[in-house]
Every structure is written in structure tokens, then in C-alpha cells.
Symmetry: C2
Subunit: 339 residues, 2 copies
């Protein structure tokens, strides 16, 4: 980290009730500077449960929080108003619904960190863009936090790494300081746009890796599929005008690897079921969690209608999910395009 005068945040709101929100709540509650965390949970029964028992009833329930510091609420405006720093950690599909009725100036004077790994439905905006267009947040007050970081391993306190990105160097350093703890190492980046897209694209590639698995392709094929995918990601970022030559850093390649190879990855699990010829709807029914890549495949497909990046892996996943093409033959054709 650069030696800059960083901000120390005392009050934080966390918006989201899933496993990643829970892991983030655990991480930031380790900080000595943080005096109060206002955790927005969607359902009032979860709020009541948390404020009684001190843990999330549904995700990473083994984590016990200090109720003197972390308080749950389902009043989103209240949570934001109480806090200097707002961390967004909910599925992208819920962003518009959750934020629909908030006043335009709700984030005025606040710093916002996105940990969301998807595009806003309909508009195909990344979250940092959405915050600027919808709520007029100045980009100097926006950061993102990205893995490789499965929430399940945070719960177990296994050493993990996060990248904190912002066009504002002081902010990225401040967020890196906030998230750093005994089991989390952090680094900084100024490529917030590239890192947000990388976090979205990698879920599509993890679905592809899962499909390959389900179809019975082996480790040799998978290694080629993933190294091709990181080049496909680089092509896409170049078409977007992001002159990043950083795709081998951990927020891009590392995040792809953990999602494509880890047993914890819900996107990979979803793909695996498709590969074993589950229908999309039955695969979704059998999984309790939402696979972000399901939505991302559509959003990136639509975005790429304008960009025309060469993306055979994304296209194959899109075709299988949305065009109902036969899985086996779609991947046989893909196998001849990658190298």
C-alpha cells in the first residue's frame, strides 16, 4: 500500500443477506476502528432472528457476531443514513428492486463500496456506473472489492486475498486497510471498471467449466478452456476500451480460477448440472442459491451485441441457457474453437 492519509470508517452499512454479505460483515467487524455496523436484511424475520441470536439464519450460520457492534434492520434508508460507508453485497438481480424507492440523494456524503458481481438488469450497467447515473454518486466516492474469495473460506478464516479498486487512490487504500485482517490480505488497484467486469465474466466461464465437467471432459480440456477464457475476457475488456494488461492479477485470473475450480462455486455447480443434462429450470430448482452467471450470460451477450468481441465460450453458455441448444453438440463445436 502507498503511504497516503487514509480514511478510517467508524460506521458501516451492509446491504445484502447472502453468504458474501455475511462474510464481509465478519471481515469488517474485525476492524478496531469500526464502532457500528448496520446490516440490512431483506426479511423482517431474519432481522429479528439476527438481533436475537447474533448470526445469519441462512448463510454461514457458524459465524457469531458481536451484537453490540452489528445490528440488523430491514429499513434500508435508515441503515444508509446511519453510516459513513455503504457496502453493497446483494445479487445483481435484486439491485433495482431494492433501490427503486430510494431518494436520488440518499448516498450524498457517503462512500459506497460494491461487492456485487453482476450487471444491473435492463440497463447492462456495472454497479459503479449505476451509482453514478441513478444516484449521482461521484466516482471519487465509489470503490469495489473483489476476490478470489469464496465466502465459505472466510467463515473458516482461511487466508484469502481481496483487491480494493477505485479511481480514487486514497479511497482504495482506505478500503484495503478496512478489509485487512488476520486472515485477509488486501491490495489496491485503480481499474475499478475492469475488475467489476472481470467479476461478472468469470461466473460465465465457471458455468462453462462446470458444463465441461458434467459432460465428462477431463482436466486437460478444462485447463485449455480456462486459459482460453482469460484471453476471451481480455479481448472483451479491450473492446470496452479498458487498456488493462493486468488480467493475470488475482482480481481477474485468480477470481476466475477460484470460481472455475472450487467445489464451493455455485456457478460451477449450476454448469455441472447443465452438463449432466438437467434442464435450466430443474437445475435452478435444485440449487438454493442464485448462480450470478445465469444472469450475466444474458447481460454480457446483450452488451456484446454492440461490442462484437469474439467470445465463443460466453456464446456457448448463452446458447445452452437461453437458446436451449443441445449441450453436448454445443460443447463439441466449442472444443474446435478454443486452443
Amino acid at each position: 500500500l502507498q503511504r497516503v492519509e487514509i480514511n478510517k470508517f467508524k460506521s458501516i452499512a451492509i446491504i445484502g443477506s447472502g453468504s458474501w454479505a455475511t462474510a464481509i460483515c465478519k471481515i469488517v467487524s474485525e476492524s478496531k476502528d469500526v464502532q457500528q455496523i448496520c446490516w440490512w436484511l431483506r426479511k423482517s424475520e431474519y432481522v429479528e432472528f439476527f438481533n436475537t441470536y447474533g448470526h445469519n439464519p441462512n448463510y454461514l450460520s457458524s459465524i457469531l457476531f458481536d451484537k453490540n457492534i452489528v445490528k440488523a434492520s430491514n429499513a434500508i434508508e435508515y441503515c444508509i443514513q446511519q453510516s459513513e460507508l455503504i457496502i453493497l453485497a446483494l445479487p445483481s438481480a435484486f439491485v433495482q428492486g431494492t433501490f427503486a424507492d430510494l431518494p436520488k440523494n440518499i448516498f450524498k456524503g457517503k462512500t459506497v463500496v460494491t461487492a456485487i458481481k453482476g450487471l444491473v438488469p435492463n440497463s447492462q450497467e456495472i454497479i459503479s456506473e449505476y451509482l453514478q447515473t441513478k444516484f449521482n454518486v461521484n466516482k471519487e466516492f465509489i470503490a469495489c472489492v473483489s476476490g478470489p474469495c469464496h465466502a465459505e473460506e472466510v467463515a473458516r478464516e482461511r487466508l484469502s486475498y481481496l483487491t480494493c479498486a477505485s479511481s480514487n487512490n486514497i479511497l482504495s487504500a482506505s478500503i484495503a486497510e478496512l478489509f485487512k485482517c488476520r486472515y485477509i490480505n488486501t491490495s489496491v488497484s485503480d481499474d475499478i471498471v475492469g475488475i467489476e467486469y472481470a467479476a461478472i465474466l468469470k461466473n460465465i466461464y465457471a458455468i462453462a467449466a462446470g458444463i465441461a465437467n458434467g459432460l465428462g471432459y477431463g482436466d486437460n480440456f478444462k485447463a485449455v478452456l480456462i486459459s482460453f477464457s482469460i484471453r476471451e475476457m481480455e479481448n472483451f475488456l479491450e473492446k470496452l476500451g479498458i487498456a488493462t494488461l493486468k488480467v493475470n492479477e488475482s482480481a481477474y485470473l485468480g477470481d476466475l480460477l477460484v470460481t472455475a475450480y472450487s467445489q464451493f462455486s455455485r456457478n460451477r455447480t449450476f454448469g455441472n448440472m447443465l452438463g449432466r443434462e438437467y434442464s435450466v429450470s430443474s437445475a435452478q430448482m435444485e440449487m438454493k442459491m442464485i448462480a450470478e452467471g445465469y444472469y450475466s450470460a444474458k447481460q454480457i451477450y446483450l452488451l456484446n451485441q454492440k461490442l462484437h468481441a469474439d467470445m465463443p465460450v460466453m456464446q456457448a453458455v448463452y446458447n445452452i441457457i437461453y437458446e436451449n441448444t443441445e449441450v453436448k453438440s454445443t460443447f463439441a463445436a466449442l472444443a474446435n474453437k478454443i486452443y
Copy 2:
């Protein structure tokens, strides 16, 4: 592939008796052009076994060869003399001993393909350099073949990809044509030096990944370790003067991924045992196969004494194997250097 007039090889010698040599023998025996394969096996009992039963007694024994085409011999000069194309596929540690007594002009008029994944002991040469200095082979007649390609998956005919590299474009295209078959896709490259080094370095990183596993680090850590390692590899190649910006292609990154993530990787298995605090010698005793990375760590360490590339992962593996440093604290220190 470019449309060039390629060579079709009719007679091939394969030098080596391990699993990779066996897989290569299977692949090239699929070619319709190949009329005769002279397979050099070190021990006369293996030669006798093969010529009786048509399969390798020790590795990938499920593969049955056509004895009309493939004939085993332990006379290395004879094998080479009989063949237009010589494929080297033995552990690097045996190269000098195996080739010691061969006449300097043994490869005259021959084409040589290396599939060896290690440096020549003592001289720290890659095989393509060794062939030039020791046997005066013109580099226009040298190629290399590289994965990601575990031999075990070739035996099972699971779709795999090979890269064929040579400074001679016609040769790389010819080798790509030779190796291409129903379950093998091939591509070409002119970066033979970079690809030979990548195949060597990746084994060191696979040992590191195995150590992390054995020590109980999780998937998040491993993803960062591997994405850092590919950057470390790129740094090393740059110091060597190889202006390759291709490390995301499958012969570099893909080969690293399959070695670091696959259950078939003996380098990863060796590292895993070190991580579980086996001594180097007891880990080696328990494994029947040689882990190339064991030798490579020393060779690359020595080579880097002159190059001074920043290589904390290689250094950690070297220290554990050769300086007997404590595994847990060595990796705790490494964890603070990677990101």
C-alpha cells in the same frame, strides 16, 4: 494451421519408457502416415515384455499397441538410425546418462522433437539448446511438444490439446499434423524456448500448490498463488530475453493449471506430502514416479543466480527442498509476498 507443405513422417523413434512416452506412442501410432515406430525402453525385460504382450508393463498398461507398427528395443543407436523423426520423452535427470555414448552426428539428417520437461543437469540447458551444443542439431530440425496434457487422460482418450513449437514453421505444422487425432487437437507456436521453460517452471509451481494444499490453505489462497506464479513465470521469461506476451496461452497458463489442479499431477502430489511434513526423502520413497519439479527447482534456482528475476514462489520451494527450511513458516512468509 497455415497451409504449408508439411512433412509426413513414416518412421519414428520414441526414447523413454514412462507414462508420457507411452501416451505419445499411442498418439503418433494413430497417424495413417506412420509405418514404423521404434520404441526405446531402457530395460531389456521391458523390451521383451512389450514385444510379447504389446503393452507397457509399468505405465498406462491399458493401452494395447499394434505390434506390427510399434517395436520395442533397448538399442538406442539402432532406434535412432531406423527413424526419420526422434521423439525424446524421458525424465531430464536421465538425459545425460542415456545420450552419453552416442556419436556426435547421431541426429544428422533426423528431426528431433523434445517432450522433456526439465533442464539438463549440470549445464542448465533446455533440451533444444542441449541438442544444438552436444549433437550439432540445427535448430530448424528441432521442435517441442507441450501440454496441458496428462498422459492418463490420453490413455482414456479424453479430448486434449498439444502445442507444437519450433523456430521452423513448416516443422511445427508438420508435428502438429502428426499429433492431431480424434482425441488430440493441436496448435503451433514459434516460441520453442519460452514453451520449454514454461513446461519446466510449471512443475515447481505445482509443487508449491501441493504444499499449500498439504498445509491446509484453501482454494482462495491457491488461486492467488497460481495467478502470482504465472506472473513470476512471465518475469523470468522476460529476464531470459524472451519477449513473450503469450503466457495466457494454453502451453503456458493451461499447462500450469492442469499440473497445479489435477489429481494426476505427481508434482502436486509430491508438494502435498511436503506440506503434510513428510521429509523430502520419505515423500520420494512413497512416490513411484519422479517429480520433475524436484530437479527443476534446483536448476532454475541456479539459473536465476545469474538472472536475478524476482521469484518468491520458486525460492520458497527451493528452500524447503534443498535448504530444509520449515514448511509452515516458509509458506507463511511467502503468503505475505504474493498478491
